[in-house]
Symmetry: D3
Subunit: 110 residues, 6 copies
């Protein structure tokens, strides 16, 4: 897959929503679960970094690390989230932990 479209997340999300109202509702429910609530947006994004490592989803790790930075999570908080993800899912999550460190290094956080 070298689809040009695949690189353009926004266009793809629009295509999904235009194809069937289910995907618009799915996106809306997702936004609701992860927006500011009793748990803050920042802490939800930190949780998603941990879950993305547990789920071994590369794209998710990069996306939620970016969101952590957008919501002013500190270097130490992000490292804590990576620890939680790696400790929860063990050494088969090592490549996903390394991906997180690589992103943090490229973004001058580490």
């Amino acid at each position: 897959m070298n689809s040009e479209l695949l690189k353009d997340r926004k266009k793809l999300m629009t295509l999904m929503k235009n194809s069937d109202p289910f995907f618009e509702e799915f996106g809306g429910l997702d936004d609701k679960a992860f927006s500011q609530g009793a748990i803050s947006k920042k802490h939800k994004e930190l949780t998603m970094v941990s879950i993305s490592i547990v789920q071994k989803c590369e794209e998710c790790i990069i996306y939620h690390l970016g969101e952590c930075l957008n919501h002013n999570a500190t270097r130490e908080e992000i490292l804590d989230a990576v620890k939680i993800g790696m400790m929860s899912s063990g050494s088969t999550s090592y490549p996903y932990g390394r991906l997180a460190f690589s992103f943090l290094h490229d973004n001058k956080i580490l």
Copy 2:
């Protein structure tokens, strides 16, 4: 991994089968499970699209979407299969749903 061989699925399947009879039997049993039966081949391939999203297997998603088209699944049936996969496995399957949409767009289905 930039192995030339990896791109050539057929040669790799032949290599597997020639290396040990186990892999030939595994392939034969797999063919049996997914061939036309009480459930039609088309519906089995639609089910495999859903399962591939649940399992977060990129190569499987592309392969089974191709098989859906080969067995005349409609656009609406394929969208239903993507919905089932995404609803079953939640928002961490988003990147895999987007991959499916990208494939469908590249193949002029969407």
Copy 3:
């Protein structure tokens, strides 16, 4: 956990929906994904039997087998769905395949 409530699925679903509107929307979206559509309700329930075996979810297997019977899936179709689930996820799904057979036997299908 021997909660009386846990045995009463309906009361628990009501408690969820009353606790927070998110759970009502989640349930509604779930209903939408699995209702009759381009893929029939019967075929969606067969797919969910396969996915439940892949996901190793005991309660899900029992629930969706019951729904298959409610929507007139045949013995052969259900066996096909079990095959797809077990072939997709391998021999660590054996206990879940046996659970399906036990249910089918208790319900005089096998």
Copy 4:
């Protein structure tokens, strides 16, 4: 398995640690990852509720919900953690969400 020992988590943990120093170190590292840090103990336990639902681990869900209560997480924060877990892993996590609600009901939180 109706082992008396299995019900006695503390004795089992002692047995593990006495059997091989690896298990003592594993436990120590686990304690380190989940103790108060840049992310608070309360938020780590909330994250573990979400991860336990994603991982479909019944014992983990009950344990971490109890820890959330021990660390003064509010009803609303716990519901947010359940939402994150269910939204991340979709409708096959329904039985695990219901387990959480059943625990919260039995403990007079809901």
Copy 5:
């Protein structure tokens, strides 16, 4: 599920094989993969203990621990297999490690 049949693994396996030849072939292929080969039966069963912990499958853990004992694996080899399983899949595998220790204790190995 309190099916009498579920407790009787052998009868259930016979029911599966008699229902459809697929399940007989699946069982045969499974036997082939896990029988004595270049890797010994004992080491294959030790590997299956690790994989069963990684897969969070309770019935599989008990079954393969029993097979380890049947094939004269030592206490130390079994502890190594539990370590590999827990280290590979992290602290969410704790309940499954404890299940293994409980079984080993009940069988006077620990």
Copy 6:
């Protein structure tokens, strides 16, 4: 992600260890679990090939196949480990089995 750093596993491991002592301890515990013990280093690496296929982790598969070769596992032992991984996790592990065969071919083992 085209990070130069990501390609340099050693530098990334150093960055992790220098960022927080947790990662050094995690690495040390991992080394302990997978070093020569009651189960030999060679058999532990073979087990890790099986687990890496079960976990669908591409980088892990390549790494542990390399370690198998470094510890003098035979062609037949490695094929047995691939069989165990594929049989345990079914046909959705096919792409990961093919990756293993591609690596073995590129390294003149097959």
